[in-house]
């Protein structure tokens, strides 16, 4: 509420403090379980603790019903971590979203990532009705207006002041039309995004080109851009991401390296192959982080190790990003 001292911060979340202090930030991602088992969150949190500055909690990712991102975020707070709750426009209208934002703030959540949301046809309730009352850019603006103008979307004043969030948005440098992507990012910045997390990057030259345009437009000075990275786990996963995941590009180089990693291992020795793939996936990821750190305008990385949270520590450590800064 308004009596809280803001110290010049927008929300004062750990993520905001780390970025404002000029550190190269590291965020992670945690997918809540398809049940109500809080221990799943605690177990995954343990793997991320000390490795990341904040943890994204997905919101019914790929349109599959999972524990609510806000509830899982509260469990993370209990574990002493800084959650970034993801909020999609697919499942709630502007009333539901604002009500949940008030609730999230009341429970101590300070970061929100505003997303359009994967289409429900990809998930486990393909016959559902979607909402899309707002789009992600309108959601960013709504959260900003609640924070900065203490107003609901309808313009009505929020009694006692609006909830204060550090506002995130996503960017996909690999979607089409490619030339428009930096401009869409500019729209998100104009709408009020404080930080951006990108789609998984498996095509560094194309990301470099995207960032060049972003820097030419001066956007990196208005918003913190965290580059999305994640370890490949096998050749199959790499090909799946290349061929099946919408809006994703995976350079052949990585697929060839993953193939080469198991070249001399007997096909029947599945355990040895899996280990070799994992090691190579982690190695590639560390190299990518090093390459990405060289790119102007990148303020940090967002690690997405989907259902492989164990990989995060060796990657962050291997990339020389430990220990994480502790900021008061």
């Amino acid at each position: 509420m308004s009596e809280v001292v803001h110290n010049g911060y927008k929300s004062g979340s750990n993520l905001e403090r780390v970025l404002v202090a000029g550190h190269f930030a590291v965020t992670g991602e945690l997918g809540p379980p398809k049940n109500h088992d809080a221990n799943v969150i605690r177990r995954k949190a343990e793997l991320l603790k000390g490795c990341v500055d904040a943890v994204n909690i997905t919101d019914n990712q790929t349109a599959i019903v999972r524990m609510s991102s806000i509830a899982a975020g509260v469990i993370l707070i209990q574990e002493g971590m800084d959650p970034v709750i993801q909020m999609t426009c697919r499942d709630r209208n502007r009333l539901g979203m604002q009500s949940d934002l008030l609730g999230a703030a009341a429970l101590g959540i300070k970061n929100v990532l505003c997303l359009t949301g994967d289409h429900q046809s990809f998930g486990n309730h393909p016959t559902a009705k979607n909402v899309h009352d707002l789009d992600s850019i309108q959601l960013v603006r709504m959260v900003k207006d609640m924070r900065d103008d203490d107003r609901f979307q309808c313009g009505e004043e929020i009694p006692g002041g609006g909830p204060r969030f550090f506002i995130g948005a996503a960017a996909n440098p690999f979607g089409d039309p490619f030339e428009f992507r930096p401009y869409r990012l500019a729209k998100k910045v104009a709408a009020g995004a404080d930080f951006i997390q990108t789609q998984l990057i498996y095509d560094i030259p194309r990301f470099r080109e995207f960032m060049k345009r972003v820097v030419d437009m001066g956007l990196h000075e208005k918003v913190f851009i965290l580059a999305g990275v994640g370890p490949l786990k096998s050749v199959g996963m790499a090909k799946y991401m290349r061929d099946q995941v919408p809006g994703m590009i995976v350079a052949d180089e990585y697929i060839e390296r993953m193939e080469a990693a198991v070249k001399h291992i007997d096909k029947t020795d599945k355990k040895a192959r899996a280990e070799a793939w994992q090691q190579e996936g982690i190695r590639i990821c560390i190299e990518q982080i090093q390459q990405i750190r060289e790119i102007e305008g990148v303020a940090g990385i967002h690690m997405m190790a989907i259902e492989w949270e164990e990989a995060i520590r060796p990657i962050v450590e291997g990339a020389g990003l430990l220990p994480r800064p502790a900021i008061q």
Binding site: T116, R141, Y183, P246, G247
Partner: protein
């Protein structure tokens, strides 16, 4: 036009189960043009029903009629005297036609032979595509004449989403990405800067979300004593 598609024969037969005399009523407007419920389709469906129910051993008697427009009183009123001869009416109009019959002839049981699908047009013969959602607040001036409400799977007003690749929608590779189309058109017309404006949240109350809609034009209404219906 309103585009419809005939229901599967099995479903139609299920709706007609237990009836002996059916009148198929076609419509001479939209569903004739989209070849789903005009005179010709009424004829074909009636034959199919006669043959199929005869083979099943419980033949239904099927008569046929097609009116010019099933959604206006003046075209359906002449049916009135005939309807008492039938157990059921199978309307091959859109959902509007079905409801117009029901409202005019409250004692008649009317079932739909079509699924009313969308407002659209045929980009080529035999293909129909959605173009309009009748949202009640047209924004085509802002999007170069391509509607993201009807043609973007997520109805984005500030698209494209991250799932647009090589010009197609992530939801269905047969569907062009509406925002790619909008981008290309704005680009070609030298109006890209218009896409940089943030479109505010839409007023959905003009769409179906404000409840069933109604337009009243007092300049066209007849004096109260002359009103029908």
């Amino acid at each position: 036009m309103i585009v419809g598609e005939q229901k599967p024969l099995a479903e139609i037969k299920q709706m007609l189960a237990g009836f002996h005399k059916v009148l198929l009523v076609g419509c001479g407007t939209c569903v004739t043009v989209c070849m789903a419920g005009g005179e010709k389709e009424v004829g074909i469906l009636a034959s199919a029903l006669r043959m199929s129910t005869r083979l099943d051993g419980n033949a239904i008697e099927c008569d046929e009629v097609t009116v010019q427009r099933q959604c206006e009183w003046e075209y359906i009123d002449p049916l009135g005297s005939r309807l008492a001869n039938y157990d059921v009416v199978l309307s091959l109009a859109c959902g509007i036609g079905v409801q117009t019959l029901v409202q005019r002839f409250p004692n008649v049981w009317v079932v739909p032979g079509l699924n009313t699908t969308f407002l659209g047009m045929p980009p080529e013969q035999g293909v129909w595509e959605e173009r309009c959602q009748a949202c009640g607040d047209c924004i085509l001036d802002k999007t170069g004449g391509i509607c993201p409400i009807a043609r973007c799977s997520k109805q984005l007003l500030n698209g494209p989403c991250g799932g647009s690749q090589k010009g197609v929608c992530e939801v269905n590779p047969q569907t062009p990405c509406a925002w790619q189309l909008i981008y290309d058109r704005m680009s070609a017309m030298g109006r890209l800067e218009q896409l940089l404006e943030i479109q505010p949240p839409k007023n959905w109350s003009a769409a179906r979300h404000g409840g069933p809609r109604r337009i009243i034009r007092d300049d066209l209404r007849l004096p109260e004593d002359y009103r029908t219906a």
